[in-house]
């Protein structure tokens, strides 16, 4: 029996060493990526995304705020850390991670939308978090949303088992420098989605002929307040921004007034501006959108000057009244 245990233990030890080494190597590959979502994460955790204006939020932040265009219009360095498929909890985690690795930006623009106050319903594209679970803020929020992600953090190679060969392929690409940098759709955290109208909204309309009501979770409201206070505590100004949304969707949202009222109330009570850009005239025209919530390239081109002007005005006011610092 002793011989068997010795042999089994010896092999298990070898396998464990092998697994830990391979895990470290593959994670290094993911952390070496410069494109797609991993590229943005790597900018965030390695202090390469220093900005005067930081955009944060969900996919509507990701695809609406063209950081480079804002920079050229305002003269302020901008970066976008908006994340696809996320609610406020995860956005707060990402902001905290950003602040842990960067000087505080002068302005944080927090994107809000009609589903911002919905409770978290899980991780979208969960593999993106795997290389960054050693970041306390990331780990804490990911665990809250998906408790069993402790396995990704602590078990060697587990993320590659859970998320499949796709993640391994990305890691190997990163290790060997084989990324397709020429066709990367993400630049300074902004992803240009010049997609045609996709039609999902028409199905949505058919499925909800009597309109749609969205949740207003007290936890989400509290998280929004925490997010604002976190940024302000770091020394940043904050603005809430409701980016353009197709008017047809606004009309079928039964509790839209209540949700907008909540955003306005939070902004008022926290002393930050609330920019509602969903009243822009082009919100009635589908040709500016690829679905009811997201602008295409044409829409972003129309939105950018509006956002840039709002930023310029806000920063000018701030510069004129230094006593009004956050």
């Amino acid at each position: 029996m002793a011989a068997f245990l010795r042999r089994a233990f010896g092999f298990a030890l070898l396998a464990a060493v092998f697994a830990v080494a391979l895990h470290a190597l593959l994670m290094h590959g993911l952390r070496s990526r410069t494109t797609d979502v991993f590229g943005v994460w790597n900018d965030v955790v390695s202090g390469r995304a220093t900005a005067d204006v930081l955009f944060t939020g969900s996919s509507r932040s990701l695809v609406h705020f063209d950081a480079a265009a804002i920079t050229s219009r305002t003269g302020l360095r901008a970066y976008n850390i908006g994340m696809d498929g996320t609610q406020l909890d995860l956005q707060l985690g990402r902001l905290r991670t950003y602040l842990a690795h960067h000087p505080a930006p002068r302005l944080v623009v927090q994107e809000v939308d009609i589903i911002s106050l919905e409770p978290d319903s899980g991780l979208y594209f969960a593999q993106q978090y795997a290389p960054y679970l050693r970041e306390p803020a990331v780990y804490e929020t990911v665990r809250r949303v998906a408790p069993d992600h402790w396995k990704d953090r602590w078990l060697p190679l587990y993320p590659f088992m859970r998320h499949g060969p796709g993640l391994t392929a990305l890691a190997v690409q990163g290790l060997l420098g084989l990324e397709d940098t020429l066709n990367d759709p993400v630049h300074l955290g902004f992803e240009l989605r010049d997609w045609p109208w996709e039609g999902s909204f028409d199905n949505f309309l058919r499925e909800h002929p009597d309109g749609m009501r969205y949740h207003e979770s007290p936890h989400a409201v509290a998280t929004l307040r925490t997010l604002i206070r976190t940024a302000r505590a770091a020394g940043s100004r904050v603005a809430l921004c409701y980016t353009p949304e197709l008017v047809e969707n606004q009309r079928i949202t039964l509790n839209r007034a209540s949700i907008m009222g909540t955003f306005a109330q939070v902004a008022r009570e926290e002393g930050v501006p609330f920019w509602d850009l969903s009243t822009a005239p082009f919100c009635g025209d589908r040709s500016f959108f690829y679905n009811s919530q997201h602008l295409n390239a044409r829409g972003v081109a129309h939105l950018t000057p509006m956002v840039a002007d709002s930023i310029t005005v806000l920063m000018a006011r701030a510069d004129q009244s230094p006593s009004a610092r956050p």
Partner: protein, 486 residues
């Protein structure tokens, strides 16, 4: 609890350490195995432990009662109690709704309205396996092949032995009970080989079977809209899936039992290298085939009563075997089709033409053997369509469409488009080729990793390679084993 889960990866070492390190007596170890069996089974649904306990205790009592009785009639009555108890439980949980709806269908065709009472009960995992294993005990006691077990922990440990509780191999009491009654010692060579067999089983399950499963599900679900070549591929992939799934489970079960000092019977002997359907059935799910042979075919007269009786008995066991798998006409059709495949061999007295391993001592088979293997595999794949289909209509439509679209360029483009969505198919296919290559080389041994190079570094490199394939090419969605539903 699933063998391919993290929970089991933690459960097994704990039970192993307690078994060899803490509990030293036979009774202590048997009690531990009972508790482990309950945890393992109860992980799925603890309420069905009561069912397991009830049927086990009935059989335990019946065997003791049979032993106390000398009269043949009385012994027969006690056996009937066991048969009714076990098969009745199986009937209620597995077959009641099928018979009720079939009766209602038949009556409605005759113009008689009948609203059947349906139970809609959940099928307890492994019920067909542990029921048949328990029956082997009471029947063997009735026949006088073995005496009854008086020590309750020994009997319950035999029934609740977790490696084979949910999906076999369906053991014989005469083979297993003596192993539970004696003191076990850890045999290093046996335990090491057990670990190797578990590793190989895990590879077959998560790398080959589970990766094939995704595309198989899609093809069978959309079969009415897909071209023939893709349907043919679906049938082949299902053959790979079910082999990887079930033989993988059996390998893990047998290997796991070895860690605890037990030898389970072999359940698969490289069936896809069979040269005819009779050989296939000697190599596929051996524990079930031999169960039906020992407890149905031979009592019915076997082949002793002439050709007609042989044919009748052959059809009986194939139909029963099909029906054992599930309450659906598709399983009966699958059994019937296999009986039809078997018939020419039986009538031509060629059903025992291939008893040994194919091409022993040679690298490659002869051309004739290769063609026979290919033909047997093709027939098996066609039969699997019935096994996998939702209903008979689906199976016939699937087979009908399989011949369609082979000469249309559009059909091939559609095939490529569907396959393009499944980027894991290529590594899964590569691993399936590797699986069969390794098993071909090892076909004279018990499992794919039994005979390895003598040098330890080389052996360990092979283990690490298989582990790496499991980690990086496996599907880790913890998919249930197909045979759990039976």
């Amino acid at each position: 609890m699933l063998f391919n889960s993290l929970t089991f990866a933690l459960f097994l070492p704990v039970v192993f350490a307690l078994y060899w390190g803490v509990f030293r007596s036979v009774t202590g170890r048997n009690l531990l195995l009972i508790v482990a069996g309950c945890v393992f089974y109860g992980w799925w649904d603890w309420r069905f432990l009561l069912l397991l306990a009830a049927t086990s205790m009935t059989d335990y009592g019946v065997a003791l009662a049979m032993d106390r009785t000398t009269g043949r009639i009385a012994r027969k009555r006690w056996l009937a109690v066991s048969l009714v108890g076990n098969l009745g439980t199986l009937g209620i949980f597995k077959y009641h709704d099928f018979f009720a709806t079939s009766l209602a269908d038949a009556l409605s065709r005759a113009g008689i309205g009948y609203d059947p009472l349906l139970l809609h009960v959940v099928l307890p995992v492994g019920i067909s396996f542990y029921t048949f294993q328990a029956l082997s005990y009471t029947i063997d006691v009735y026949r006088g092949r073995i005496g009854p077990v008086r020590d309750l922990p020994t009997y319950l440990a035999f029934i609740a032995f977790f490696p084979q509780l949910c999906a076999g191999p369906i053991e014989r009491a005469s083979h297993m009970l003596p192993q539970f009654a004696r003191q076990r010692v850890l045999n290093t060579a046996l335990a090491t080989d057990g670990l190797r067999q578990m590793l190989w089983g895990l590879f077959k399950k998560v790398v080959v079977a589970d990766n094939c499963a995704t595309l198989v599900d899609r093809i069978f679900t959309d079969s009415d809209h897909l071209p023939g070549p893709l349907l043919a591929l679906g049938a082949i992939l299902f053959a790979l899936q079910i082999y990887g799934d079930f033989s993988g489970y059996s390998d893990i079960a047998i290997g796991c039992a070895r860690l605890f000092g037990f030898e389970l019977m072999r359940n698969f002997a490289f069936p896809y290298f069979s040269r005819d359907i009779a050989e296939f059935w000697r190599r596929w799910h051996i524990s079930l085939s031999t169960w039906f042979r020992d407890y149905v075919y031979i009592p019915l007269g076997g082949s002793r009563g002439g050709t007609w009786m042989s044919v009748r008995n052959t059809f009986a066991i194939f139909l029963l075997s099909g029906f054992w798998h599930g309450a659906n006409w598709t399983f009966l059709a699958w059994g019937f089709l296999n009986a039809v495949y078997f018939l020419p061999l039986l009538l031509g007295r060629r059903n025992r033409a291939h008893l040994g391993t194919v091409a022993p001592g040679r690298l490659l088979p002869s051309l004739g053997d290769a063609m026979r293997i290919a033909a047997t595999f093709t027939l098996t794949c066609l039969a699997w369509v019935f096994f996998r289909a939702e209903d008979l209509g689906h199976a016939f439509r699937y087979l009908g469409r399989m011949a369609d679209g082979w000469s249309r360029a559009g059909a091939w483009q559609r095939c490529l488009a569907v396959l393009g969505d499944h980027y894991l198919l290529a590594p899964a296919m590569a691993c399936a080729v590797l699986l069969f290559a390794v098993e071909w080389v090892q076909r004279e041994h018990a499992h794919g990793l039994e005979r390895l190079p003598a040098q330890r570094p080389l052996r360990w490199a092979i283990y690490l390679g298989v582990l790496a394939a499991v980690v990086f090419a496996g599907d880790h969605g913890e998919q249930q084993f197909i045979y759990f539903q039976f």
